[in-house]
């Protein structure tokens, strides 16, 4: 397992059901607010209504022209990227001539989940080919690169729910090997009827607000959003202060089941081990863990057990109660939240948790909690058995 040099994080952007900017998200989470509701953006004939966390009204498209040009996933990715770039002191003009890479994780952003088109295709009506043309224009990483006229590596990662975390780890590796000097990295996903139907078919969604790690947990609430980080090499950043540092990244596959994590967390432990080695930090250095914490029985049991074994006593939380499970965006959002929490010296309560589950072994924080350390861990588990871990360090502010 190789050692990885730290990478500076100079900008953060986030939007989701908790807020339309990173600061809005952080403030609402620390106020303990959450707003799950039945889906508004689409309807189904499903006899049961599961709760979701959609973006609240007021989300402004980042580009007026993008309304009919790009998918909602791409609009979310662009919005978070523009916030993160502004936070880092960049814009399209100042990026010109720089070697800038884009790595974005998504789940639905690359899938032909065009059920309106397909319904017409199956029926008597002529399907609207504009839907298909929009899909063909809407590769999230490529859209960011195209809109900002960037020249550099571009990658859209589709590792299911660890996509955003993997995209950040991959983007950082581009900087280390000199493939580019700046990377826009994170994840984005919109809420769709297709994923709503899919997750409910797996019987892992909840009709009530989700309860990560609680003994009564029934499943997840789907969400939508985007979380983007700007990463910079030292020769570009120079004296600019970092918001945080990416110290290490690890990933591994359970090679066990398509949708369930390995009961012993084999892949998660391997991913943690790689990230610790890469960052040259010990488990004792970790101040807190931002878990995947979806609120599904299997995920939380495995994560809790692994945490009790690898990081016993380290405070942890799930932010899924505030954001919903945003799939490919989750890793990007939670990396941004983790860096912002290190800056703030405080983590929010793990909303939804009330009663411990002996099978989980560990319990998350139940109130906003002060933290003194400088290093935290954010982890994602995914369909396909993917596990991805980021070790993040406090910035210079």
């Amino acid at each position: 397992m190789p050692v990885q040099a730290p990478i500076a994080i100079t900008g953060l952007g986030a939007l989701c059901g908790a807020g339309l900017t990173l600061s809005e998200c952080m403030e609402s989470m620390f106020r303990g607010e959450r707003h799950p509701h039945p889906p508004i953006r689409f309807a189904t004939d499903h006899p049961v209504s599961y709760l979701v966390l959609e973006l609240r009204d007021g989300f402004k498209l980042p580009l007026d022209e993008s309304e009919d040009v790009y998918s909602r996933t791409c609009q979310l990715a662009l919005a978070a990227a523009l916030e993160a770039l502004a936070d880092a002191g960049w814009n399209a003009e100042t990026l010109r001539g720089k070697r800038v890479g884009v790595a974005v994780g998504t789940t639905v952003g690359c899938a032909l989940n065009c059920d309106d088109f397909y319904r017409d295709y199956k029926g008597e009506s002529e399907p609207d080919l504009g839907i298909m043309q929009r899909f063909l224009r809407s590769n999230p990483a490529a859209v960011i690169a195209r809109q900002l006229q960037l020249d550099g590596p571009v990658q859209t990662v589709v590792n299911a729910c660890s996509s955003g975390t993997d995209a950040i780890g991959i983007g950082a590796s581009w900087l280390r090997t000199g493939a580019c000097d700046i990377v826009i990295a994170g994840g984005a996903d919109e809420l769709l009827r297709v994923t709503y139907a899919g997750f409910s078919s797996l019987m892992i969604t909840d009709t009530e607000p989700c309860r990560p790690f609680d003994i009564s947990r029934k499943g997840l609430n789907l969400g939508e959003g985007a979380g983007i980080l700007v990463l910079e090499s030292d020769n570009v950043r120079r004296d600019k202060k970092a918001q945080g540092y990416l110290l290490g990244y690890g990933s591994a596959c359970d090679a066990y089941h398509l949708t369930a994590p390995h009961p012993d967390g084999v892949g998660l432990k391997l991913a943690m081990h790689e990230a610790f080695t890469a960052a040259q930090v010990a488990p004792a250095d970790i101040t807190f863990v931002n878990t995947h914490g979806t609120g599904t029985p299997d995920n939380d049991r495995v994560e809790g057990r692994v945490l009790s074994e690898v990081l016993p006593g380290v405070p942890f939380l799930s932010t899924k109660g505030y954001t919903g499970h945003t799939l490919g965006a989750a890793g990007g959002l939670e990396a941004a939240f983790t860096v912002a929490s290190l800056q703030r010296g405080e983590i929010s309560s793990s909303i939804g948790f009330a009663n411990p589950d002996p099978a989980v072994i560990s319990t998350p924080v139940t109130q906003n909690t002060r933290i003194d350390g400088k290093i935290a861990l954010s982890e994602s588990l995914a369909f396909g058995g993917n596990n991805a871990v980021l070790i993040l360090g406090k910035g210079d502010h």
Partner: protein, 358 residues
């Protein structure tokens, strides 16, 4: 760091082995099959390059394939063939990373899942189709079948999927995250894709595929899977990957030296043709898409042709060139120490350039 190609496995319109691709390259011809789609009571027939799965049961029992879809079956077949070709069928796989590029992912299963709720209501949505429609399902099946817990990655980026994913394969080996990477590309045909292509391109989908007629739409749909076993070794059966470069030609023009021969991914799509035309005016180029068709993962087959060229130390003749061509491909010649690169363009000028050497 140079990355060695130690094994190749593939299935496409030309057959299901390195030998069958080699035979197609030598003959310069692959006969297309006839695709057939029934939609709204009308029968649509069209030329197509279809992949065979004959021989898959050498690696995986039929019973184990029951819930595995066509896209993942092609993936598993090519992945096993690559390991066998590299002599790694029984080797330690604890540090074998898996990376897959796919332009569209598992299309048929995606629509099968939509069928489940559009036909029978949302309460009848199929969990099996849903879990197999996730784009990393094929990579997951490979990791599970091979029992490798090393990192796994899937990239979906239309035409740029292959070079982008290969960049990460190279990164993983360079950084020492893994000791080998099983790198592959896969795309499948489906009825809805055919419908869309027919609507968009009409007779431009009837072939024959003319990669050098850059301003003519002459695509022929294809499908298939191709895998490579990549290592850091200095000795390599199929040559080395020296560099993977991604960028946008419209923003910053691509730099290619005069002594580089190019295998271009021109596949009869007019909207990408202008970019190839600019490059082909100045450089020696070859194209082999008439042997496997037009689909995003075909860039992986271009890479396989480049690898075979390295192994044989010669550039193969560009196949089945018909019709008026504003530019002619380079004549076949020994490669010796000449540089070879595979070049793929997207619609907006984005490119992936894979530089290779023996």
């Amino acid at each position: 760091m140079r990355i060695g190609i130690q094994g190749i496995g593939l299935t496409g319109g030309f057959g299901s082995s390195v030998d069958s691709l080699h035979a197609a390259l030598c003959s310069g011809t692959v006969v297309t099959q006839q695709g057939r789609v029934e939609h709204n009571g009308l029968i649509d027939t069209f030329p197509a390059y279809q992949a065979s799965l004959d021989g898959l049961d050498e690696f995986i029992p039929k019973r184990a394939l029951r819930r595995i879809d066509h896209c993942s079956r092609m993936t598993l077949f090519a992945a096993h063939l690559a390991l066998k070709d590299a002599g790694m069928a029984e080797a330690d796989r604890s540090r074998l990373g898996v990376i897959i590029a796919s332009g569209y992912g598992p299309l048929k299963t995606t629509f099968d899942f939509l069928d489940s709720y559009l036909d029978f209501g949302y309460a009848c949505s199929s969990p099996t189709h849903f879990s197999n429609s996730v784009h990393n399902a094929a990579a997951a099946h490979v990791s599970m079948q091979l029992k490798t817990t090393a990192p796994s990655l899937t990239v979906t980026q239309f035409e740029m999927s292959v070079p982008s994913a290969l960049l990460t394969a190279r990164q993983w080996l360079t950084e020492g995250r893994v000791d080998q990477v099983l790198f592959g590309a896969v795309d499948e045909q489906c009825d809805v894709l055919r419908y869309c292509r027919q609507q968009f391109f009409g007779d431009g989908e009837q072939g024959p595929l003319q990669p050098f007629a850059f301003d003519t739409q002459s695509a022929v749909v294809g499908e298939g899977a191709v895998f490579f076993l990549l290592t850091r070794d200095e000795t390599a059966i199929y040559g080395h990957i020296d560099e993977v470069k991604l960028g946008n030609h419209a923003v910053s023009p691509i730099k290619i030296s005069q002594d580089e021969s190019l295998i271009i991914g021109a596949d009869g799509h007019k909207e990408c043709g202008q970019w190839y035309a600019q490059v082909a005016k100045k450089h020696a180029t070859s194209a082999y898409t008439p042997l496997y068709g037009s689909f995003p993962a075909a860039a992986g087959f271009d890479l396989a042709v480049a690898a075979l060229s390295m192994r044989e130390n010669r550039l193969f003749v560009s196949p089945e060139l018909t019709g008026a061509m504003p530019l002619t491909p380079t004549e076949p010649h020994p490669l010796d120490d000449a540089k070879l690169a595979s070049l793929k363009f997207g619609k907006s000028g984005e490119y992936g350039l894979i530089r290779m050497s023996r």
